[in-house]
């Protein structure tokens, strides 16, 4: 299926999943056709799991769409994949008023679209206006509810006006927005189905430009010699359609593709040790958590939630399920988000005795000797809802089931495919069939402010607060962190809310997973990031 990667959201560790220069005419030895150094710069062949329905950055949603849009187009700024600090791209500098109500961006001179037309402030306003168009209901638009308007000051200056102070604006802009060309899209009646631009001939400002899109087979990009940061090292980047993850691995081993981003940790051992292939890992801002529905009766009691938190051996999960590729989590903000991470919040230790004490305190004991905890004649019973097709989710769920059973809980598993999981579990938050308990991966923007979406009570009914956590104290701290223009006050608010979410077991934080990239070992300059592929102009062969 075509899996969707919403810019900054749940979207589980999606198993990600195409002529060019002097390649051999391919009769006998497919293995050599991916050889890199046919020409000076060489080419990189990347796998894609599905044909992109669009490469227009305003609409890009699936993994392949986002990957392509980010190589073909640029934002005003981009986030450094290691520090998450915004760096200049189409804008060279920016400043904001002290009240974080107005942001002024100075655009780079001399930038040209792939068709040779100049890039101007009008393109920026056009793109932002489309992103914010309620009729289009775009993904990036949802990060900018605080944005009032975009104004063109002059051809190389743009001003963004906020409704409320929004200190995280530049981060979100760098993360979520790539600029599309006004001169090609203005006046198009149906922008979403405009295949002439979206799939056949997208025109961006990026380091690579589209040569051909052979649907059902591959997409070829070539170096843009006029790229504003200088010509890229590689000659070509080819996206090859390979829907099956096992086939992707086979093709990496034969050298038919050069890189697999975001390799599932469960298959990493089968790639490790392949001659000529290297595994790179990197830390991320993502976290995995057990979601206990705060409105589902046994979980309404914080002591029960804490008891369950103490029952989980997180170190074992990291070593056994992640093969060590991750870090035990204490809260939603990963250590990599240095400006906001609170190192004083300790993860819950594995302490089943403490779990039993807490459950007893909460009134849960086995009175009838059937091995199941009960209270007021009701057994401690719930369903662990398991998302199938995601090995980490499946394995963690199986381990947690045993750990909860050991406490005397009556746990049963129920399996769901992605689409039914989302509607029947994630988005069924109340009523008789409300979700109960499930383990999923949380996809955060690399900006601490993003936790607002996950824990603020205003996102409980619809939005990313899936397990309906409602706490006025948390709301107040989250609002303060979101709007405060005093960096110290903002930091303190993030620190306090991390402690609160941990103590309250708002979500049961498990671990921060590492990303794993498998690539040809001569390939260099590829940052390991959750959202591929930044800095593609710097990729090259040794």
């Amino acid at each position: 299926m075509k899996r969707y990667l919403s810019a900054a959201s749940l979207v589980l560790a999606l198993a990600v999943a195409a002529c060019t220069q002097a390649a051999p005419s391919g009769t006998a030895s497919p293995g050599v056709s991916g050889a890199p150094s046919d020409r000076a710069g060489g080419r990189v062949v990347l796998p894609m799991a599905a044909d992109p329905g669009t490469m227009n950055p305003i609409f890009a949603g699936s993994v392949a769409e986002v990957q392509l849009a980010r190589v073909l187009f640029n934002g005003l700024a981009r986030l450094n994949p290691e520090t998450f600090v915004p760096e200049p791209m189409l804008a060279t500098s920016w400043e904001s008023t002290d009240d974080a109500m107005e942001y002024t961006f100075h655009l780079r001179d001399g930038v040209k679209w792939h068709d040779g037309q100049p890039f101007t402030a009008d393109d920026v306003k056009f793109t932002m206006d489309k992103i914010m168009d309620p009729e289009l209901a775009t993904r990036p638009g949802r990060s900018f509810t605080a944005l009032e308007s975009t104004e063109v000051v002059d051809a190389s200056t743009v001003k963004f006006i906020m409704k409320t102070p929004f200190p995280a604006f530049v981060s979100y802009l760098a993360y979520n927005v790539q600029i599309a060309p006004k001169h090609l899209l203005e006046g198009v009646e149906d922008l979403q189905n405009n295949t002439a631009f979206n799939t056949d001939k997208p025109i961006g400002t990026g380091a690579f430009r589209l040569v051909e899109n052979v649907k059902g087979d591959h997409i070829t990009l070539e170096a843009n010699p006029d790229f504003f940061l200088g010509p890229p090292k590689l000659d070509r980047v080819i996206f090859k359609l390979l829907p099956d993850a096992n086939t992707q691995i086979a093709q990496l081993k034969t050298g038919e593709i050069d890189l697999i981003p975001r390799l599932d940790v469960s298959v990493a051992p089968s790639v490790e040790g392949t001659p000529g292939v290297r595994l790179d890992t990197g830390v991320t801002a993502q976290f995995w958590a057990l979601h206990l529905n705060h409105d589902f009766p046994p979980f309404t009691d914080v002591r029960v939630r804490q008891a369950m938190a103490y029952a989980i051996d997180r170190e074992a999960l990291v070593s056994d399920v992640l093969h060590g590729q991750g870090q035990v989590a204490a809260g939603p903000i990963a250590p990599i988000l240095k400006s906001a991470y609170n190192p004083d919040v300790e993860p819950y230790p594995y302490d089943p005795e403490r779990s039993k004490e807490l459950l007893e305190e909460a009134g849960w004991t086995d009175t009838d000797g059937d091995g199941i905890l009960d209270k007021d004649g009701e057994p401690f019973r719930f369903t662990l809802q398991v998302l199938k097709g995601f090995p980490v989710a499946e394995q963690v769920s199986a381990i947690l089931e045993q750990e909860f059973k050991a406490l005397g809980m009556d746990v049963t598993q129920q399996a769901y495919d992605l689409a039914s999981f989302i509607t029947d579990v994630r988005d069924t938050r109340s009523g008789p069939n409300m979700s109960q308990a499930y383990v999923v991966f949380m996809f955060l923007a690399p900006e601490p402010d993003d936790i607002w979406s996950y824990f603020h009570s205003s996102n409980a009914e619809a939005g990313s607060n899936f397990n309906v956590y409602r706490n006025p104290d948390a709301d107040r701290l989250l609002d303060l962190a979101r709007t405060s223009v005093d960096p110290e006050e903002r930091r303190q608010a993030f620190f306090d809310v991390q402690q609160l979410l941990h103590d309250d077991v708002a979500r049961d934080f498990l671990f921060y997973p590492n990303e794993i990239y498998a690539m040809k070992d001569t390939l260099h300059g590829v940052p390991v990031s959750t959202l591929p592929y930044p800095y593609v102009e710097q990729w090259g062969y040794e």
């Binding site: 299926m1 075509k2 969707y4 919403s6 959201s9 749940l10 979207v11 195409a18 002529c19 060019t20 390649a23 051999p24 005419s25 391919g26 009769t27 006998a28 497919p30 293995g31 991916g34 329905g53 949603g61 699936s62 309620p134 209901a137 993904r139 949802r142 990060s143 979403q192 189905n193 295949t195 979206n198 799939t199 059902g216 087979d217 591959h218 080819i238 090859k240 359609l241 390979l242 829907p243 099956d244 096992n246 086939t247 086979a250 093709q251 081993k253 034969t254 038919e256 495919d417 992605l418 689409a419 039914s420 989302i422 509607t423 029947d424 009914e461 619809a462 939005g463 990313s464 899936f466």
Partner: protein
């Protein structure tokens, strides 16, 4: 003959109507919704807007009416995921599936029938047991397993065959290139039907050989080859043709697993991606085409009976 064809056409249209109504209802009943509606950051308003944009806010019968009246005009609608006409998607995928199906079917028939005759002519010999063993293995091996195994052996270890796709990147996209790419998927796809054809040919031949006209032919002094191929085979083929006819829609619908493993851009993969992504227009479009294929395949099978056995009349 003409009346027969008209009657068949009538029942085909009826079948088409029933199948589309049922599929239309089932996909809407399936849990989950179109993948574009699954984004967790969507507000209730966004969801409503997207549903309106897709026409999903209309009552189901109205949606079916709109879809079927467009269909009559040859319009299958636009894919939610690919955002292009479903007919374009199918027009791209169908020839690829047809090619793979044709090659696999040819393998199954050209190897399966002679092997079945061979086994029948030497019944209870070690050749016969060997072919039985081969058939059982062929029917039992899961294609995803065999596919991956073949990729590991022939692509990763021996490096003699390409692992996936239809053409080499940057190659000439010629016939030679295509042939090397089709070898593995065709073998994997042909194996189970081939084994089935072997079994049916063998048992059907054994049945026919017992008929009195065979000893009669032998008594006339005819060569064993002539007996087998001219006298026995034609009659023995009726059940075999039935089996192949029943397999046709499976072939033409595309093998989901084979197409996915070997990255073969055909109908099976299109259908499965659409089903998982709840891409309703594509699911419906593929359903229409496959239903049409089933109807045509059944009709052709029936016609073929008459040619094989003149006693069968179309009435």
């Amino acid at each position: 003959m003409l009346a027969y064809a008209v009657r068949r056409l009538g029942s085909a249209l009826l079948a088409m109507f029933a199948v589309t109504v049922i599929t239309f209802s089932i996909i809407q009943l399936a849990p989950g919704g179109p993948a574009i509606l699954l984004d967790d950051r969507l507000t209730a308003d966004d969801r409503e807007q997207i549903r309106r944009n897709l026409g999903l806010d209309q009552p189901l019968p109205v949606q079916y009416y709109l879809w079927s009246s467009a269909l009559v005009q040859g319009d299958l609608g636009d894919s939610y995921l690919q955002r292009e006409p479903v007919s374009d998607l199918i027009a791209r995928a169908f020839p690829n599936t047809l090619l793979l199906a044709g090659v696999s079917l040819a393998l199954a028939i050209l190897i399966g029938i002679p092997l079945g005759i061979f086994a029948a002519a030497r019944v209870n010999s070690s050749w016969d047991y060997g072919s039985t063993f081969f058939s059982v293995v062929g029917i039992s091996i899961p294609s995803f397993w065999l596919g991956i195994l073949m990729i590991i052996l022939f692509s990763v270890n021996l490096r003699v065959l390409p692992s996936a796709g239809m053409y080499t990147l940057g190659g000439d996209r010629g016939l030679a290139d295509l042939s090397t790419h089709i070898v593995m998927p065709a073998i994997v796809m042909a194996l189970a039907p081939l084994a089935t054809v072997v079994r049916y040919t063998r048992s059907s031949m054994l049945g026919v050989i017992r008929n009195e006209y065979i000893p009669t032919a032998r008594a006339k002094g005819l060569a064993e080859r002539v007996i087998l191929y001219r006298h026995a085979l034609k009659n023995a083929l009726v059940p075999v043709v039935t089996v192949i006819g029943l397999q046709l829609p499976v072939f033409l619908g595309g093998s989901v697993i084979v197409e996915k493993i070997f990255a073969w851009p055909g109908m099976g993969r299109l259908a499965v991606d659409a089903a998982f992504g709840r891409d309703y227009p594509v699911v419906m479009g593929v359903t229409v085409v496959v239903t049409l294929m089933v109807v045509v395949a059944n009709f052709l099978t029936d016609l073929l009976y008459g040619f094989l056995d003149p006693r069968i009349r179309w009435a």
